[in-house]
């Protein structure tokens, strides 16, 4: 959590925020009108192959970058509105959770920031985090749009979760292709760019990570399928759990 704030001291990290935001926004705009699922709210988001990759490479810069990129997508798409507020929060989580949980979701995680592609750990952890971060994003955004009365929770939480999970899974191909270049040529892996003193320690990493898992998965399944009548309440409770868990990371 600390790094999310201290990164603003570092020029390269600030630029990475802008670069991530611009790539994400450019891709969002390019495909915005391609296949709308709910006009003005969401579409088949090809651009979502990026956030998880950004996250594992650029850490906190990815969280802010994804959030700002989504906002710019709304601005250029003409869909800037109150919905954009939690669009910001949800997309922030999409860029925040993968890197923050990569080291804390024990026993799946082993605490290493650097990625080792060989072995069982990488594919399992990647797939789990792709799903959890997407569901967390889906729950938070769907809750808010239900509060605003724009789209039913059941519909939107499912669309976002499924769409972002699939896109993040495809994103693994991008990660495999660029990890080495970012590490060796560009030297931009976030924990190497930032001053180690600024990175800080999670408050209660493993607890936070599992809280996020519970909030995201239960919030989506219970709210969208099992207790649809109480969807709003479930969405709000799940959002609180996810946000508290995130703060502990």
């Amino acid at each position: 959590m600390t790094a999310v704030l201290t990164m603003w001291k570092n020029t390269r990290m600030i630029i990475l925020v802008a670069v991530c935001a611009a790539i994400y926004a450019a891709a969002l705009i390019a495909f915005k009108t391609a296949i709308p699922l709910i006009p003005g709210i969401t579409e088949v988001r090809v651009a979502n192959i990026f956030p998880m990759v950004f996250s594992l490479l650029f850490g906190p810069a990815a969280a802010w970058g994804t959030a700002i990129g989504n906002l710019i997508g709304d601005i250029f798409g003409g869909t800037l509105g109150l919905g954009s507020i939690f669009g910001f929060v949800g997309n922030f989580l999409l860029g925040y959770l993968p890197y923050a949980m990569w080291t804390t979701l024990k026993p799946l995680a082993n605490g290493e920031r650097a990625i080792t592609f060989a072995g069982w750990r990488f594919p399992v952890l990647y797939a789990v985090l792709a799903f959890v971060s997407s569901a967390a994003c889906g729950v938070v955004i769907a809750m808010w749009l239900q509060v605003l009365g724009l789209v039913p929770y059941q519909v939107l939480s499912t669309i976002i979760t499924v769409n972002d999970t699939v896109a993040s899974l495809i994103g693994v191909l991008l990660l495999l292709a660029v990890y080495g270049v970012v590490q060796k040529q560009l030297r931009l892996l976030w924990w190497e760019v930032m001053d180690p003193a600024d990175i800080g320690q999670p408050i209660a990493g493993t607890v936070g990570a599992w809280l996020v898992v519970v909030g995201a998965v239960a919030g989506w399944i219970l709210g969208a399928y099992l207790f649809t009548g109480q969807a709003l309440i479930i969405g709000i409770v799940a959002t609180v759990i996810i946000l508290v868990g995130s703060a502990l990371l």
């Binding site: 926004a25 601005i75 869909t79 509105g81 605003l148 495809i170 970012v182 560009l186």
Partner: protein
């Protein structure tokens, strides 16, 4: 294509302080939110169209016409299945549509369209610089505002690079138009990888250029763009605040809702 929505006119709205516009658009968002009766939300929507005309923003409304239309239609069709009302119109198994839920759906569509309309008026009358400067004066920390405005500036650059990349790969035989979702997804890799590397290569150069011009994230600085709240700004804010309070009061008094609990 010009992806920016700003329209270079000189209306009363254009001349307002960006802080007024930011707070104003938030107040405007509140108006459709206060109601869920299509007649009330419709009145707000019409008011926004009039405002759009005064701000000479209608060309952008026209540009977004399909989106605006789709919002209303889609929402009218979708909502009745989820919102429950007391007067049934039609039912099929567990699905049930009531009079209230149908009206509610139309109102929600109009609400969404109103949001888009308010946002369009804002974007049509505010330059990127003013937007950024307004956010800074509303206490957004400078590094964040800087990242935001740099991203705005980079989007067209990256979109242009993206278009070239598509051409380069298509001319090597990449076929983007066939295959199922997963196959198509895989085909974005030859596009996403070069775009990613191209963009990220920018990072070191930009950071160098920035520091070479004296940038230091937390240091003191002065501003070239100066903002000043004028009499018109206070009038605009007062009018919008009054409208907002009036809307909330109406709703609390029981008007403007077909489904009072939602």
């Amino acid at each position: 294509m010009n992806i920016f929505l700003y329209l270079d006119e000189n209306t009363w709205f254009h001349r307002l302080d960006p802080r007024t516009k930011i707070i104003g658009v938030l107040l405007l968002f509140g108006l459709p939110l206060a109601f869920n009766d299509p007649r009330y939300v419709g009145a707000v929507a019409l008011g926004l169209v009039a405002l759009g005309a005064a701000a000479k923003a209608l060309p952008n409304f026209w540009r977004m016409r399909y989106l605006l239309l789709l919002l209303v239609l889609f929402s009218s069709v979708l909502w009745p299945f989820f919102a429950k009302g007391p007067t049934p119109l039609w039912s099929w198994g567990p699905l049930e549509v009531s009079r209230e839920s149908l009206l509610f759906g139309i109102a929600m569509g109009l609400r969404l369209a109103s949001f888009v309309a308010a946002g369009l008026i804002f974007l049509s009358t505010t330059t990127n610089e003013e937007f950024t400067q307004g956010l800074i004066r509303l206490r957004l920390p400078y590094p964040v505002a800087f990242a935001f405005s740099t991203a705005l500036r980079l989007v067209p650059t990256f979109a242009g690079a993206g278009a070239t990349i598509v051409q380069a790969q298509v001319s090597r035989g990449l076929d983007l138009e066939s295959g199922n979702v997963f196959q198509r997804g895989r085909k974005f890799i030859p596009l996403a990888v070069p775009l990613f590397i191209y963009a990220v290569r920018h990072t070191n150069l930009l950071a160098m250029a920035l520091e070479s011009r004296g940038f230091s994230p937390l240091a003191q600085r002065t501003w070239y763009v100066q903002l000043r709240m004028r009499r018109d700004d206070y009038i605009a804010l007062a009018v919008l605040a009054t409208l907002f309070v009036a809307a909330v009061a109406l709703r609390l008094a029981g008007y403007g809702a077909v489904l009072p609990r939602l």
